[in-house]
């Protein structure tokens, strides 16, 4: 184990240079060793004594490419090559990164870091310039940063950062250092290959599941299949008879099998044949009841999330009204890297090695769980084999720590895929209902939108929850479509199924419902769905993305029978996006997604290659869920277990994707979630265009079979 200071972490350990990551365990103790001087505008960005720019990532990397984007921004301001920046994945440490939170979700990373990251790097640059200018006796304004040096062009002099850091570190940090104008960017805004790509391709990046410690043992677990159930019995002798099994550890609602390797643990668990009984205090429910309860939530008044104008009065003046109710099912994340965690609890310390989207929150959760002071708990974060919101929950860490505290060695707990699917924290079941009043010319006059479903925020806020889930109504309270009067309400409806963040959450729910409803209205009025949207939207950035997909998708061109195109548009997460999906539906009602055309205005683009990658990602991840995704409950337990019954798109089913980034100098918007949200209604609307069947519930493939 290596003991390191924060500075030490930055300059020497856990470093990813270019593409090779060297994962290093950082001890929980925080003794301060002598460190060479560094220019450190904050606790996570610095220029060290050798002139290297170092960044401890304030956000977590789960595949979305934030590591590369952060490095590009730092490299730009400090005039170094991105590949020369030393990147580390830091431990969970809320105080170190405050006011930035390490928690990574909601498509917030670039939006949150855009200003502080550039300001910190600019501060370091100005500090280095000041030292060079003083040495040369020239005005600082005549000096500039260039390829890791400060240059004074008129006298043709230059000094590397390494020669300036000691003096710069000794001086007070400059205040109000100006960030570079975006018009001067050489790196940011141009496609850049991700820094961790090569090492990942070669199998050299250490994910949480790959961590191996000396003396480590392996474990797997079974949790009560019925939510809220308890362990009733287990055949310990049968488990122990499996070669390699070291022991069976029972919990209230869980059983672990420990072994010398994962396979033995899995064999042992199968032999143990755990028995469960349902918690009598809970009602065992089926999916139909859950869906009915959520839909019944729409009949309640709900809590007002947004209101403007006199809805009833305006509605009375409407020439026509349209209503529509939309349903969305539970969804699992099914990250490629199943839930796992490595932990050791020893001598009043707990160390955790895992890939988590919430490293600092997990530290606090585990400290509380074990009754340890925060400084005795270390969360060593790792790159993640997918997050999508799954790793915003600490349950996989909690389960591992509960086990680790009972054994004298480090333990790696790897869930089976079946446990991962059946014990996820699911995207809630939602229902949306609209009542929209139109003028005779089709203009939207009144807009009533009722939303019902589980509230993730209510769970997290506890007593502070006031009835409206701000995240669940994202994208609904301020839609692109104008109206003279508007009312948006939210009604919380819970079941025994645990719910949590799933790529897009509220904004996705809103986008599917709104864009389906608008499409129905356009078709009913006999209007072109893009033209109708443009007529009801005033925002020019939304117009631009819609017009781009109209021009690039073949929109309006005649299609063969069974082929249809559907459009959608959104403005959520500070990003504007439109898509046209083209699908074909065969005589067996099988849907094939042929082509998806996307246009995005996400403000200033940081890494266009990463933005386009997120579009590929959202289209396929969201497309998988829109077509096939559904977790259902029978007898209080999840019915799905693996990729055969939780189907996702494969290579032969993946559409051709054509995407355009609209140039913009506006502040950057988020990119993780918009493409995942945009695809749901685009597909549903395309299925309507292809078949004439309006599918108001998901997943589309199943609903089309029923239609």
């Amino acid at each position: 184990m290596i003991t390191a200071t924060r500075r030490g972490v930055l300059s020497a350990t856990g470093v990813l240079t270019g593409a090779l990551m060297v994962p290093v365990a950082i001890g929980a103790s925080r003794t301060r060793a002598a460190t060479p001087a560094a220019v450190a505008p904050n606790a996570w960005l610095s220029v060290d004594g050798e002139g290297h720019v170092g960044v401890a990532l304030p956000k977590t990397e789960m595949g979305q490419g934030i590591m590369t984007a952060i490095v590009m921004l730092a490299a730009e301001e400090l005039a170094v090559r991105p590949g020369d920046v030393k990147v580390s994945i830091p431990d969970g440490d809320a105080a170190r990164f405050a006011p930035i939170t390490q928690e990574t979700g909601g498509s917030t990373s670039i939006r949150e870091l855009w200003q502080p990251l550039r300001e910190a790097a600019a501060t370091a640059r100005v500090a280095l310039i000041a030292v060079a200018a003083k040495k040369w006796g020239v005005p600082a304004g005549e000096c500039a940063a260039h390829e890791g040096t400060i240059v004074h062009r008129t006298s043709n002099r230059s000094l590397p950062y390494a020669a300036l850091v000691a003096d710069a570190a000794a001086a007070p940090l400059p205040k109000d250092a100006p960030v570079l104008p975006t018009s001067s960017y050489a790196v940011v805004g141009k496609p850049f290959r991700r820094l961790d790509g090569d090492a990942k391709a070669r199998g050299k990046v250490e994910y949480g599941i790959d961590v191996i410690l000396p003396g480590m043992r392996y474990a797997t677990l079974a949790q009560s299949p019925v939510f809220g159930g308890k362990l009733a019995g287990v055949d310990e002798a049968a488990a122990r008879a499996v070669p390699g099994v070291l022991g069976v550890i029972k919990g209230d609602d869980v059983v672990y099998v420990l072994a010398t390797n994962t396979w033995a643990a899995r064999q042992g668990l199968a032999a143990a044949k755990p028995q469960w009984h349902a918690d009598a205090s809970r009602t065992i429910v089926n999916q139909a009841e859950i869906d009915a309860n959520v839909t019944a939530g729409l009949a309640k008044p709900g809590f007002v999330a947004a209101t403007s104008g006199d809805l009833d009065k305006v509605r009375q003046g409407a020439a026509r009204t349209f209503t529509g109710t939309y349903h969305q099912p539970f969804l699992a994340h099914a990250t490629m890297e199943p839930a796992n965690c490595v932990a050791q609890v020893k001598d009043g310390h707990c160390e955790v090695w895992t890939g988590t989207q919430i490293p600092s929150q997990a530290r606090s959760v585990i400290a509380t769980r074990l009754g340890l002071p925060m400084e005795k708990v270390a969360i060593h974060n790792r790159t993640m084999g997918g997050g999508f919101g799954r790793r915003l929950e600490p349950d996989m860490i909690e389960r591992c720590v509960d086990l680790a505290k009972q054994v004298p060695f480090p333990v790696k707990l790897v869930w089976t895929r079946e446990e991962d699917v059946a014990h996820d924290w699911y995207r809630p079941v939602y229902a949306d209902r609209f009542n929209i009043g139109l003028a005779a010319d089709g203009r939207i006059l009144s807009w009533e939108h009722k939303i019902a479903g589980s509230s993730i925020m209510a769970r997290l806020l506890g007593d502070k929850f006031t009835g409206v889930d701000d995240d669940a109504v994202d994208g609904a309270i301020n839609p692109l479509y104008g109206a003279d009067a508007r009312k948006v309400t939210f009604q919380q409806v819970e079941s025994l199924v645990p719910t949590s963040w799933w790529r897009g959450v509220g904004g996705l729910r809103s986008t599917f419902a709104i864009e389906s409803m608008i499409d129905e209205i356009a078709h009913s009025l006999g209007k072109d769905p893009i033209a109708y949207r443009l007529s009801q939207i005033s925002d020019p950035r939304a117009h631009a993305v819609l017009e781009t997909v109209r021009a690039q998708s073949g929109w309006g061109e005649k299609t063969a029978a069974g082929i249809g195109r559907g459009v959608s548009v959104l403005h959520v997460w500070d990003t504007y996006m439109a898509a046209v999906a083209e699908v074909s539906v065969d005589s067996d009602k099988q849907i094939t997604v042929r082509k998806v055309t996307v246009a995005v205005d996400c403000g200033q683009a940081v890494n266009p290659s990463g933005i386009l990658a997120q579009i590929d990602s959202g289209v396929n991840f969201g497309g998988s869920a829109a077509l096939f995704g559904e977790i259902t409950i029978a007898g209080g337990q999840v019915e799905q277990s693996n990729f055969h019954d939780y189907r996702v798109l494969r290579m032969n089913e993946a559409p051709v994707i054509h995407a355009t980034i609209i140039e913009s100098s506006e502040k950057p918007g988020g990119m993780g979630e918009p493409p995942n949200a945009i695809i749901f209604p685009a597909l549903a609307n395309a299925v309507f265009a292809a078949t004439g069947k309006r599918l108001r519930s998901l997943p589309l493939q199943k609903e089309l079979q029923k239609a």
Partner: protein, 157 residues
């Protein structure tokens, strides 16, 4: 019980039962963690390795079945000309997102290109559909397979 295997050209003996799937032997015993666990039932392809040049799912292949045969994992692919072409193409196209499935994808691509040096899109659909990518990197994987075929052909020429 002991199993002697040839992994990436190296003969190694492991004290494991022959029915242990290669996936777990490679990851937990041989400590070659580039081969990934995804489903353990042959549905996702994350655990793909080459057995005498043919792609197998490590989760479905008992270690005993690999005795006397040549196992190539993602770690070993780097030493082969085809592997070099694949890694180079994967980089050029900037394929990777979370990256977890990519070693398995690259092994599947290697097996396909050994059989068919110039696959068309339909061949790629057939050769790569055993591998799931939750990040949806399929369009770039397709482009990278075409590019790897090209690089490899140029090197042989």
């Amino acid at each position: 019980m002991a199993v002697t295997l040839t992994i990436n050209g190296e003969r190694r003996t492991f004290d494991v039962p022959p029915e242990m799937p290669l996936l777990w032997l490679l990851r937990d015993v041989a400590q070659l963690t580039g081969t990934k666990y995804g489903c353990a039932v042959g549905l996702c392809g994350a655990c793909s390795v080459l057995l005498d040049g043919v792609r197998v799912f490590g989760c479905q292949t008992p270690a005993g079945d690999a005795v006397g045969r040549s196992i190539t994992t993602i770690e070993g692919l780097a030493d082969q000309p085809l592997g070099k072409a694949l890694f180079s193409a994967w980089n050029e196209v900037d394929v990777v997102q979370c990256g977890y499935c990519q070693p398995g994808q690259i092994i599947a691509a290697a097996a396909m290109l050994k059989e068919n040096a110039h696959p068309d899109d339909a061949d790629i659909d057939a050769g790569m559909s055993g591998n799931i990518c939750r990040c949806g990197t399929y369009p770039r994987i397709r482009a990278a397979v075409h590019r790897a075929a090209q690089i490899h052909a140029e090197e042989k020429a």
